[in-house]
Amino acid sequence: MLSVRDVSMTYQKGKKEALKNINLEIAEGEFTALLGQNGAGKSTLINILAGNVKKTRGSVSIGGYDLDKKELETKKIIGIVPQDTGYDFVFTVDEALKKQSGYFGIKNNKAYIDEILEALYLTEKRSARIRDLSGGMRRRFLIAKALVHKPKILILDEPTAGVDIEMRHTLYDFLVKLHQFGTTIILTTHYIEEAEKLCKRIVIIDGGKIIADEPKEELMDAFSRESIIEVHFDQVLNLADFDFLSDYHPHIEDKTRLQLKASKNDLSKVFRQLSEKNMEFTNLVVERPKLEDIYLNIIKH
């Protein structure tokens, strides 16, 4: 569905190399998170796909169309929700969505616009000027705008930045539904838990390069080799008493909880060693690392 091959981009201003030989293949129906720090190159990549930035090298194919040779065809396949909530001062929600449909060659799109507005809880605001909408509503309006031509690929550049938690969850539900109906989704976000909750594949960009590209479960399993094992006791602990577990980096939390870093396979060994030392514990919890921990781990290395 989307193929990015050997794409590099150097901005003329400051001669900054924003992307270095990026390769990315996204299949139809995937829900991919594109993660990275500010300035990592995520927005540059999205802007190349949107036609806002001219790449320096490489090729991009969207829905089988080459971006350089069949640019206009590629536009019909993707919908972009930009990071910036820029809006037209003059038009109402309804007017702007009708015009947006027209730009994509769709003359009468009322029924579908009604459907999107309802799904995004904007029906009551259809006659309001965009400038009068709240920040969260404007974000939803931008999603509606990106969807009027029923794109096969939806690219969202930090769609929930500055949106309250309730509305964020409403948007998550909407995106999940959209994905279930077959839309390929690429999401960039700074909320890692958002990517963990929604996406099936994680791509991490750092310094203009892709440094990780895995299905979410595989990535998390690979990093789950070092789970956090927490052993709860009903007495105050002394770290020196746990020297026999030094391979698992023991650490005491709140005086009564022993934390160890170990793989799931080591769990029985830890259990046995504690039993051999007649250490009676009240509870044992194994915490899988969160995507956020994995992300930070990858970025740091």
């Binding site: 036609g51 001219k54 536009k75 993707i78 972009i80 037209d88 994509f104 060659g105």
Partner: protein, 260 residues
């Protein structure tokens, strides 16, 4: 949706409608204000100088003034429409939306130029209508008069598009309007005959691109003009083609629209 040049007819008409819809939403500012200015020019200059005959076949000054005012109105309105549209889109951070539409380059450029042209012709014709009260409705060559306003508006809509792409804020746009467009217009023969100017200035005016535009419009309105009408029509055509292609080149380069 087939050819590369005219790819998306609905997209083109939507973009054109948006350009027209935008200025029609604020008609007092975009149409009525320039019309009132032109009527005031008519009252002040016309009132003061109405008995004066002009050196072109004894035409009255009011009749001489009407096509100049109509052309001037068309120039400012046509320039401002695309220039304001592009700069306000930059200001609103929506300019890059233009890159996401499946509309060909030619369609995008024509939509902006036609939008400005429409506003220019509208202001030009309304200026003429308003002057009927002062000078009557006779026009020597009505179709030619409308065509001359259309050509003038097309040229300045292209110039306005160039300004909108190159300039990044309203201050610079107003500066360009005040320092370049306004003096050229005032010195382009709107209010006076070139033959009345001292030698050096009379020669200089032939380098003013607005002079042929005013002159063609004047010929269409009163049937006579200063100099050779054929040459001025050819100059107008040259301006029309060159301004459009410069605008198209800048647009294609992505100046002000794409990040490079």
């Amino acid at each position: 949706m087939k050819s590369r040049i005219f790819y998306n007819r609905v997209g083109f008409t939507t973009l054109l409608n948006k350009e027209i819809h935008r200025f029609m939403k604020v008609p007092v500012q975009t149409v009525l204000a320039p019309l009132i200015s032109n009527i005031l020019y008519m009252l002040i200059f016309g009132g003061m100088l109405q008995t004066r005959e002009v050196g072109i076949d004894g035409i009255s000054y009011l009749n001489f003034l009407v096509p100049g005012l109509a052309t001037m109105g068309a120039i400012f309105a046509a320039f401002q429409n695309p220039a304001f549209s592009m700069i306000s889109q930059k200001f609103q951070n929506t300019i890059q939306d233009l890159n996401s539409y499946p509309i060909s380059l030619a369609e995008k450029i024509l939509a902006f130029v036609f939008g400005g042209m429409f506003r220019g012709v509208l202001v030009g014709i309304l200026t003429y209508v308003a002057t009927i009260f002062f000078v009557g409705y006779e026009v020597a060559y009505p179709i030619f008069f409308i065509l001359s306003l259309t050509a003038t508006s097309f040229v300045f809509a292209s110039v306005g598009l160039i300004a909108g792409l190159v300039l990044d804020n309203f201050e610079k746009m107003n500066f360009a309007l005040a320092i370049i467009i306004t003096p050229l217009t005032y010195l382009g023969g709107v209010f006076f005959e070139v033959s009345k100017l001292p030698g050096f200035l009379a020669n200089l005016i032939y380098f003013n691109p607005i002079f042929p535009l005013v002159n063609v419009s004047r010929y269409a309105y009163i049937g006579v003009c200063e100099g050779n009408i054929v040459i001025h029509v050819l100059l107008t055509m040259g301006l029309l083609i060159s301004s459009f292609f410069v605008a198209a080149y800048i647009f294609k380069k992505g100046v002000g629209i794409k990040i490079v």
